[in-house]
Amino acid sequence: MQEMALECISARKVFYIRKETRPTAKPSTEWYASPGERDVGGQAVAHAGAGRAEPDAHAGAGERERGAGVGSACAGVRCNSNGCLDIRSACNGGPDSRASRGTGTNGRHRGRLAVSRAVATLFPKSVRVEAVSGVTFSVKRGEIFGILGPNGSGKSTLIRLISTLLLPDEGEIRVFGHDVVRERFAVRRLINRVSVEAAFFKKLSAMENLSYAARLYDVDIRWARERAIDILKRLGFSESKAYEPLEDLSRGMQQKVAVARALLTSPVLLLLDEPTTGLDPVSKREVQDYVLEVRGSHDTTVILTTHDMQEADRLCDRVAIIDQGRFVALDTPARLKAGLAKNGETVTLEDVFFTLTGKALKESRLEEEDYSD
C-alpha cells in the first residue's frame, strides 16, 4: 500500500444556496452605523483580504467569492464566521422604508416595489458559497491529521469530499492512490467516517444498527457483534445498553456507538468529524485514547476535525487551520505555537487559532450580537 494515505490537490466545492431576503431591513443610515458593519461590501472584501494576506503564504491561490460588491457599499454579500448574508435587500431598505412611510415616493413606485419583493420572496436568488476553495495537502500513512476552523469554514465539506459523499467541482483527491470520483468504490473499502451528529435508525438498538453496518461492509456478523461489544466497552459503554433503542440513549452514548460503527469495519483511513463534541471529559479521553490506540495497533491514518484545541494538540501530528474554505496554516502543533511565541511567553493552540482566523474574542462576540438582532 502507498505511503501517502491522502492527497488533496486544489480541491474546490461550491454550493448554491437559495436564501430569503431579510424580512426587516433597517434604514440605510442605521445599518451602516452598527458596529458589525465594518464587514459590509467593499470594506468586507478589503478586510477579509487583509486578514488573509499573511496566512495566504501557506494556502493555495484563488479568491473566495464574496459577492460582487468591491467598492460599493450596497451590493454584495456580508460574511462572518457563520456564513454570508446578502445585503442587497438591506440596501433597498433605504428607499423602501421611506416608501413605506410615504415620504416622497408615488404609489406606482410603491406597487412596483411590492411586486419585485413578492417575486424575490417566491423565487429567491441563489447565493454562491465556496465551502472549500482550492485546498492542497497530503497526509502520510499512519498520521493523525487535524483540521481546525471556525463554524462554517468548510471542515465537514472537506471530510465529505474525501468520503465520496460530495463531488468536488475542481481538483483531485486520492485515497491511497485511488481517485475519490473515478474509483469511488475502491475508496469506500478503505474509509469510514464519524460525523458530529450520530445518525442512526433511532428505533433500533445499538447492536441492530451495528449489525446493519457490518453487513453492509460484508464483515462476518458473529465476529462483528463480539468486536462491537469490545469496542463499546472500551469506550465506557455498558453492554446492557447496547440492546436498548438508540433513541433512549443520551447524545454522548449515541456518539460512542457512532465511533464503534466506524471502527467496526477496520478502515485504513478514518475520518473523524468532531467525534468528541458533546462528550463528557472522561468519555472524551476514552475516545481520544482509543483513537491513539487504533493508530498504533492498526496503522490507521486519521483525519480529525475538532473545536477542542487541547484535543488537537494531544492527538494530532500535524494540524491545518481552515478559514473560509482555505487552509491558512499547516504544521505540527509545536511549530504553529512556536511561530507565534514572542519573548518566551507560552502560546496555546487556541492563540494560534484566534490569530490565524483573524478573530480576537471580542470581535467574534460582536459578530454574534450583530447576527442575532
Binding site: F15, Y16, S156, T157, R160, S163, T164, L165, L166, L167, F185, R188, R189, I191, N192, R193, S195, V196, E197, A199, F200, F201, K202, K203, L204, E208, S211, Y212, A213, R215, L216, Y217, D218, P245, R261, D273
Partner: protein, 271 residues
Amino acid sequence: MIELVREVRRSYALVERNFNLIKRYIGWEIVFLVYTVVNTLTIAFIGVNPAGGGGGGGDRVLYLVVGALLWGFLSVLFHEVAESVQWERWEGTIEYSFMAPMKRLSYLGGVCLYAATYGAVRTVVVMLAVVSLFKLDLGSANLGAAFVVLLLSSLSFIGVGLMAAVLPLLSPEKGSQAAHILEAAILLVSGVYYEVDVLPAWLQPLSRLSPATYTLRAARAALLQNASVRDIGSDLALLLAIGVVLIPLGLKVFNWGELHAMRTGKLKRSG
C-alpha cells in the same frame, strides 16, 4: 462469483434492518393491516350490490377483490422502494449507507427483496380475511399461475419504484409526495376496479403502457377463469419485457439522481 455472493450478503443487510424496524413499529403494522382489510372489504361490498343495482354477485366480488389485493401488493412494493431513501434521509443514515462499499444495485435489490416479501405476506393475510368473510369460492382459481403473475409484475413495479425513489434525492422534503402522483396515474389507467375499455380513447394508450394493466388482466384470468400459465403467456411475456426494460432504466435514473445529490450536497446538509 465470490463478489456476487458478497453483494447478495450485503443486500441482506437491508432486509434484516427493515424487518427489525417492523418489530419496533408492530402496533402500527397491525393498524395498517386492519386498515387494508377494511378498505378491501369496502371495495368487495361494492361488488355484492353495486350502486344503482345491476349484476352483483360472486364473480363481480372476486373481480374487485383481485383488483384491490393486487393493487395493495403493488402499492406496498412501490412505496417501500420509493420511501426507503426518504426514510434514510430523514434518519440521516443515508450518508452511511451510501458510503458503504456496495453496489447500488445490491442496496436497492435488498430494499426490493424486503418490499416484495413484506407485500406478499400482507396480501396473503388480507386475502385470507376477505375470502373467509365473503366465503369466496376459489375452486376455479389457478393460484400457481396467479403467483407467477405476482412475481413477474414485481419486476416492473420495482423498476417504477426505483424511479420514484430518486425523487427524495432531488427534493428531500417534498420528493416522496410526488411519488403519489405516479401511483395515482397508474391506478387511473390500469383497470384496477374497472375494465380499461371504459376509459376515454385518449387515455387508452396510457393503459397499454402501464404494467399494472397486464398484471390485472392476467391475474383475473388465472383466478376467475382458471387460466394456466400458458393461457396467459403473452401477458406474462409482456410483463417480463417491461421489467427487463424498467429495472435497468430505474437504476440509471437512480444513479443519475445520486450523482446530482452528490454534486449539489443534497444527501445531507448539516453536521
